[in-house]
Subunit: 300 residues, 2 copies
Amino acid sequence: MPTLAHIGEDELVRRLTTGLPLDRSVLAGAGDDCAVLHAPPPGRHLLFKTDAVVEHIHFLRETPPRAIGRKALARVISDIAAMGGQPTHALITLVVRRATELRFIEELYSGVREVAQTFGVNIVGGETSRGDTTVISVSLLGQVSARRWSNRRGGKAGDALLVTGRLGGSIKGRHLDFTPRVKEAQWLVKKFTVHAMMDISDGLAKDLPRLAEASGVEFVVDESALPCTPGCTPGQAWGDGEDYELLLAVSPNSAARLETEWPRAFPKLELTRIGKFVAKGQGIAPSFATKGWDHFAGNS
Amino acid sequence: MPTLAHIGEDELVRRLTTGLPLDRSVLAGAGDDCAVLHAPPPGRHLLFKTDAVVEHIHFLRETPPRAIGRKALARVISDIAAMGGQPTHALITLVVRRATELRFIEELYSGVREVAQTFGVNIVGGETSRGDTTVISVSLLGQVSARRWSNRRGGKAGDALLVTGRLGGSIKGRHLDFTPRVKEAQWLVKKFTVHAMMDISDGLAKDLPRLAEASGVEFVVDESALPCTPGCTPGQAWGDGEDYELLLAVSPNSAARLETEWPRAFPKLELTRIGKFVAKGQGIAPSFATKGWDHFAGNS
């Protein structure tokens, strides 16, 4: 089997980047010192994010390389989605062992390209380097309406907390095969005043306290309401992570209207009210919050 | 000595990103799902680049961490410079072993911050992950005049080839302590019609053939003219790499004017004419081009 050592870096980059579909925003893509891109039009802000998946941590040596590639790009798209934004341009950095088979790299890249095509992302370059472990780092640009974008800082005491989809048990496969909620998030920020939003990557147990802390509030969770993946307990829905669903805070009035309009817009995806933001000092840790869980806003 | 395992990722990120100086282009920096940035004004294009430094490849375990951090950011700034651009916003991804000392990470980051401050770069986020080897991946945004930017593709037969500074022997220290040629490159694209330009990262032996190939030409080098670092042979100036100087192609008329105006603008930095582009089939490999050197445009 040919390996990276057989063909060298220039030839590898040529194979990976030839024939990449690019739209008219790209003035120079792979093959120059930098990508050169048309800036977003007036009224749009830039979004900029990077994320890495690392062997042994985010995937195993036996994970199919195409799934690794899909996950590497989809994770970052999920972050762009969390702002209500549209992903546009990506750079892919691969650190691989010298003995890595070309086929591994090519299949990994085909997973990246598959997700890029689905979400209209231009792959405009990247880099390969040798290293002692496999790392795929993805940098992603996006854009968002300057008037309508969500962040983590605007949550208020009294806000309803909602999540998309079902939570827990993603290790059984969904962590490799999730759908970033790009269109759902864009619909949300366009139609509603979203006080705070993020994607659930590390699990509600870590991410909800982060959202609360960024907004300067605490939270109460309705444990019986958590939308559990079939076969999962509420504790797993709380702690497992890698759900890549949206977590958002809106006013109670918005929540009522949202609960009416959501099923018409997205009949196949659940939206569940899981609790509310409360003032500092009034938060209650869920019953399955373990002693090791040191991120609760009230304790930090 | 405290390690990453002692404080955890959230606390580490908080320590690294607190107090980062940000200019008014930054609407949201570290701490949200994405950085949110004002887009460049009309008439400016975006530049987008990523680059990684990897333990054992780009630095050794005994390399001072501050120097590693400086190099990681300066390499990418050098790529933005090669387009005649201005670096603006960076994301820093660190992959480190769990047992890595906090002090190593903090010093590495202080090297990144030092270079960021020198070149007016906003550090707007990043990521840390555990892994079996140390990797620092930097993503950098920049901007450039839409009317004046250089690439690798516009070189013409007859163009003069010039380089800034001196070449060779960078392994003795300059590879950790070079100055990206940002202001020089901006001056060049503003004052002259630069047909093709790049930064010399892998060495003239690899980079000059790349520039020629991208422009569809070949080259002839005046071996006796190569500006060698004191103590280095022309063969070392040709092959060592990691010089991070500019390599550019301009018309012979521009070259003559440039050789007059350069010393007034940059009296402390040499600019040397090292050869010319010629039509395909007329290139001559330098005498020190070894058998292993398979990148010569005429042979590929």
